[in-house]
Symmetry: C2
């Protein structure tokens, strides 16, 4: 995969022609249709590549387990994002770039929300091997995507859940995670725990 | 299917135990896991019943067409809902129940948004038989679910798109739509176009 940086807030016409929603991610494959959004991409990858992945398939086979995995992907990409990640993006990154000041009441609420979301992930990870069951699935990556941004900003209260911490440490140690850890926000260095695999 | 009314804002504990997100719809089937949210239910129904439906299956067979259908379901349930339907629910239904007054600036923006969303549906329906292609799919129902609420409130500018109007008239005439049209909001009668199949 070749990654192309898109700044959705610029609302580039060529990008809006690919995805009317003007949102990332969009996956383009050869001459195929644009695949818009994390869920659409996930389902497409499973439909076109999942079966051939055998035990390394990132979606369970049984409809009940698939439903649980999809519920968690939706929870992380929509609820954790809206209630926590997006707030910090706006208050700490966008406002920094625009030389504004974060709203402390909004930050306080978002920090309480993160604590709840981390505790919930910990509760799931405590009763299962991975978030959606015995195997690593897209649910783990959906949750890790949120935690990675929050961790970069030093906004994950790791004391909220030991099982969440050890689940995330296992995921962070995987080779596929390494390149992500090299990403940087200009003018905002990562927190002390971010690069540490044994945080 | 037996329908059970749930008022998610009451945050009933027994309901939160089924769906931690506290959102409707949730589908329960015999002793199976709770199926939480429209997308999870849609994928589950297709996985467990789709193949046996043959030409009446509500999801296309090809991964590219499935991706386009899923994009539209996401667009309607998330974007059309957030930018239009939810605003009217809050401003016109919830505020009426709490004896408050709607915010006219918010309503004005939402009305501009509805016009855009109806025009987009009309653009899709104009180039295809149904929203996602040649066959009726979950995308049509996802869009109709939003339009039905908006139409009840008299908030659909049908002059914005003749192709949207004729697409919706075809859908509204289907027998499966009839029971929906009998639903009422206490104290708020439906608009004049709502019950009319030939509006």
């Amino acid at each position: 995969v070749d990654f192309i940086v898109e700044r959705p807030w610029e609302r580039r016409e060529a990008f809006l022609a690919l995805n009317a929603a003007g949102e990332v991610p969009v996956l383009m494959e050869n001459e195929g249709v644009p695949l818009c959004g994390p869920t659409v991409i996930m389902e497409y990858l499973d439909e076109t590549r999942g079966y051939a992945m055998a035990e390394r398939r990132l979606m369970p086979g049984h409809p009940d387990l698939r439903a649980e995995m999809r519920r968690l992907v939706d929870w992380c990409t929509r609820r954790t994002y809206e209630e926590a990640t997006r707030v910090f993006e706006e208050e700490r990154i966008f406002k920094m770039e625009q030389r504004g000041s974060p709203d402390t009441a909004v930050l306080r609420q978002a920090r309480a929300n993160v604590r709840f979301h981390v505790a919930y992930l910990g509760w799931l990870a405590g009763g299962r091997d991975w978030l959606a069951g015995k195997a690593l699935t897209y649910a783990d990556f959906a949750a890790a995507a949120q935690l990675s941004v929050l961790d970069y900003l030093g906004e994950v209260p790791w004391d909220a859940s030991e099982t969440a911490r050890s689940w995330y440490a296992r995921l962070k140690s995987r080779p596929s995670f390494r390149p992500l850890l090299a990403d940087k926000v200009a003018g905002l260095p990562p927190s002390s725990t971010y690069l540490d695999l044994d945080f």
